[in-house]
């Protein structure tokens, strides 16, 4: 990508914070995927000697991750909408956003 001289290299504090929040939005599904793939490492019932994970614990874990993801997603959305960082609908967002 070529460097656009019209775009600032450094941002003021507020914009900087919002950029990082956009980064968080992008990162969220990755974190979710990792957390939800974690159960594949849990011991299953036929592992000798190791106490298998109880169903209630599993439910609490999986749904706990779910709630966290939803909350983070919702909060990030609110923050970014308030800051006007969310991409506007079709017409206004014709150019790619600066990184």
């Amino acid at each position: 990508m070529s460097i656009d001289l019209n775009q600032p290299v450094f941002l003021e504090r507020r914009s900087y914070r919002q950029r990082r929040m956009m980064d968080a939005v992008r990162l969220l599904p990755v974190i979710g995927l990792l957390l939800w793939l974690l159960p594949t490492l849990w011991s299953v019932s036929d592992d000798g000697g190791v106490e298998p994970v109880k169903m209630s614990q599993a439910i609490i874990y999986v749904f706990g991750v779910w709630v966290c993801l939803i909350l983070s997603g919702g909060l990030l959305w609110r923050y970014l909408v308030a800051g006007g960082e969310m991409p506007a609908p079709l017409d206004a967002d014709a150019t790619s956003e600066p990184e």
């Binding site: 011991s43 169903m55 997603g73 014709a94």
Partner: protein
Amino acid sequence: MASVNLLIAVCLIYVAFLFAVAFAAERAASRGRGNWLRSPLVYTLSLSIYCTAWTFYGAVGYAARSGMEFVTIYLGPSLVMIGWWWMLRKLVRIGRTQRVTSVADLISSRYGKSNVLAIIVTVMAVVGVTPYIALQLQSVTLSLSIFADPTGVTDGGMNLLSAGFWVALGLALFTVLFGTRNLNANERHDGVVIAIAVEAVVKLVALLAVGIFVVWGVAGGLGEMMVRIDSSEIGQWEVDSSRWTALTVLSGAAFLCLPRMFQVLVVENDDERHLHIASWAFPIYLMLMSLFVVPIAVIGLDLLPANANPDLFVLTVPLSQGQDGLAILSFLGGFSSATSMVIVATLALSTMVSNHVVMPIWLSFQGQGAAVSGDVRNVVLFSRRMSILVIIALGYLYYRVSGGSGALAAIGLISFTGVAQFLPAMMGGIFWRGATRVGALSGLLVGFAIWIYASLLPSFGADVVMSQALLDQGPFDIDFLRPQSLFGIEGVDPTVHAVFWSLFLNTSAFVLGSLISFPNPLERLQGAQFVNIFAHSGHARGWSGSVAESEDLMVMAQRILGGSEAQKLFRREAQKQGQDGHLPEPTPDFLQRLEREMSASVGAATAHAMISQLVGGTSVSVQDLMAVAHESAQMLEYSSQLEAKSSELSTTALQLRDVNAKLTQLSVQKDAFLSQISHELRTPMTSIRSFSEILRDSDGLEAVDKTKYASIIHVEAIRLTRLLDDLLDLSVLENGQVSLNPATGALLSVIDHAVTTTQAGAIRAITIDKSGIDGALVLTTDLDRLSQVFINLISNAQKYCKSENPTLVIETVVKHDEVVVLFTDNGISIPADKRALIFEKFSRINDQDGSGAGLGLAICREIVARLGGKIEHLPILKGNQFAVHLPL
């Protein structure tokens, strides 16, 4: 105990209610009061068609059989939604700017509007979704049967297959009435979307109600519930890691690729901001849908007999507790799930079938082109309705063939794997510009073939389509190709096996095909547009409509968009162009917009084909543009060649003109030469004749006179002889017949000899300065001829130097391999216009006494040329300088 008849009545009332809601919504929308219809909430709820009867009933059955694994089906979509920024954002933007109507349209549009690709995707989608529709039929019939026998052990005396038929018929009618009332798929089905949203609420409320009843009504609170879960037979973590991972990925992929999901996610999307809200709101819905699945399964396993069908616990648990009202609500929830899924899925599929299969065939059968009269809309609507019927009939057929058996979850996963085959072509298409049509085609075909072989056909059970022997030993006893353990990988779960191999080989074929093939220009253009959609939500390519008749376009647009719609569009366009009438100019902009409008009704490829039929030869395809560019490049090259040639020609012409001028001059000289020579010859001849006549005829002549006359005759004869000698000499020299006698001698002595010769008997004295001569210079050349040249030059100076104190300076200069002998006098310079001619024959400059014949310098030039040198006249400020160049 609720009877089956009561249930049917409830269903009919419910359907009537949905119709009313849909109708009201469409009326509100048409009156412009429908803003609330397009709220983020409705968008989020409409996404809930992901949760079908499979989810509603099957998830509990799934949980009862394999514990927490059921939740993977929701985790994948949740991740896709939360990761909206990565994929959905781009998909929705592409769908909106390119007016994409379906998955098939997206893929065909991305790969150069290829109809072949669209047809393949359509067929794959139909085949892939068929088991899913069968699944809905199965769950609705099963749920009906449960009311006939609440234990869920037998089918309660109902004929499940014929019940399935009636359910299928009902669903088909429902869909036709609902979905095909208006045509433009991109106008979005306001009524349908609202009905789906209502159904989404109904199924969520139903499942939550059953869940709350189970947890607080049966188990007696959250804590006790957890204890009961842990002590039940699914109380321990027993998930196969490979299945957990594969199903999460698979459900995420299917969420993107399922035609019905694409319909609600992309096609029905009204505002990109809705997606942002749905990105966290839809996971809430999914989470709530799965929240009570495990409790219901655990209680069902506890309360009901061991042989009860766990897929129906959602119904049988309330029934067994005497909660008929709750059971009916739950039944409605399942019914909602099934109907909403079937409606949207068949709508999406029928759009694909009619746009990509029926319409192109119909258009090509029409033959006369797109401009013939008659309303295409009827054809489109009819083909969509027929497609709906055929698709549901296929679902019913699958249901019959598979015997209505098998767990709901297993059937659903087969369907998921089938549609997930679109993923590589889709993702590759929007993220990788190098993806080509050939790659997409090969990937899709490979993935689809493996899916059919390893997943779909074995799903019918042994000996239905595939024999037990084939399943066990592979085709022709090739162990390697056993459908459920391809390439010798054994002991893997069949679903994981099919998912892995089909997606892996699909992606490989896609990438490989893309790498080795070369896309056509339209593909490359579309590729750039899709991949860089945020950089330029621009236009695909230009139509040049100078010849396209607006009227023809109008006729065609009316047939597809409908009369009033088309007129509105054209009038709006005409106003935008600042015209009074109803027909706008067919500008490229307008044609492009028209194509997009039409593609919303009949698909990109068909719309493109129809416009190009009308605009005909003037449609500027990219290929045409390339050809034009190529031609102009050639013409440029040609013209630059011409330019070079013409400058060459003008140089030649200039040279020719010079030559011509010289020739003309020479011709003049030739004439002058002839008159000159006759004059030169006649003058002495006349004197000789007259004096010889006097001598002959006069008798009394004095001796003195006689002698005098005789000597005149003698002198004239000598002059004649000399003239003839000179002429002879010159002609010999010019013809190159001269024979040279080379000898070696000092240059100084040659010059001395010449000076001596000329000064003997000279009339006018001239001072000759020889001090500048290098006495040591020795030449090997024809010395006699050389001295002749020198004599000529010196005598010329003697004759013509009109200075008061005539001086001739002779000097030598040695340069490299030649010696230059310079003869410089101080007389009057030869005028510039005469200089070019002094070495020509008979050229005489201000020769007043007429004694010279004008041959001397010509002879000199010829001699020096024979000797290998040259002679030239150098203009100096005062006087003349002749330079004789001689090789050393």
